[in-house]
Subunit: 137 residues, 3 copies
């Protein structure tokens, strides 16, 4: 059986937005002991990732790495009419995840101690982002 | 319950091959209202990705990025006997996706408006590629 | 229905650890003809990948690529107190996979002929790593 819901988030520019608590609470509310949660991001300029949740420097370093690897330099791209951050956003999305599947065990999301779930916004400006949650039981 | 099928594709050299319609039609034909589709690529030199479906320049820019990041330069690799494009193909596959999971809602694949599903061929020559579709309901 | 189990592995420094046989045997033991296996890695400095299983040079080249792309150079990162290999490990995990979903058909893991499943250890030292297996049927 599949139970689904949609999360709508308002991002505030580039960076990682922690969605762990919101997702974990939704899972706990479903009353499913053993199953699989899949999170799906309905966008191509924002994505998902699981990262260390303890030191905020990890998130800053991750963002710095992606800025260096996928440059916001219009000379590198043909697709520039949506702004210098749009094509890099598509590439960064391809390099990270559009969907994540996490087991649910004993009624809870079975993340490791140091794992947090993040929406990774790749555009400069604030955007409304839709994530679909699918719980299979 | 799981329903499965296999898609066989003939690629025509490096690049993104749009499989959205073929996959969406198969899902619609199954008569499942709420579920989860998983696409699995049975190869290590082709992969899957979800990308923007509107401007073909996005696909060209994505390919250019991967050509620059993972060079087809035999001097960089030990594994060269299958050609200069084989080891880069394995690396590009590791950086993108071997499996994708997409929710099915109201009987349809719940992609965002601008999302297309692509098989990413990483080899120079034409290849026959097998994808497994798994629909969980 | 979901059946789950945990695999605990002792890694021996950086590199790919082949888990194909262990995972395939577990799946075969469950007696499920048609389903979906999801493997989830409960860590942020080790990850999962599917790679070519025939030539060990492929694995060496993959490791070399990631060492070159994500340098173990403390000057590049703020998060350095856990050692020069920790932040690169988080980035390499983001670039590869925390979860993999593989169809099960005719009671067996439906991998392609050349596909092997690997735990990718990104830290210098030996670590105990936990993977959750979820079989949906």
């Amino acid at each position: 059986m599949h139970t689904q819901d949609t999360i709508t988030l308002r991002t505030r520019g580039q960076g990682l937005h922690d969605i762990t608590r919101q997702v974990a609470n939704w899972v706990a509310d479903q009353g499913v002991r053993t199953g699989l949660l899949t999170i799906f991001c309905q966008h191509t300029s924002a994505s998902l990732t699981i990262q260390e949740n303890a030191d905020p420097d990890v998130q800053a370093d991750l963002e710095t790495f992606f800025r260096r690897l996928v440059k916001e330099d219009a000379a590198l791209y043909r697709h520039t009419m949506e702004g210098p951050d749009d094509m890099p956003a598509h590439i960064r999305s391809a390099l990270t995840d559009v969907s994540l599947s996490i087991p649910v065990a004993n009624g809870r999301l079975a993340l490791g101690s140091w794992q947090g779930v993040y929406l990774f916004e790749h555009r400069f400006r604030s955007h409304t982002r839709r994530l679909i949650l699918d719980l299979s039981s």
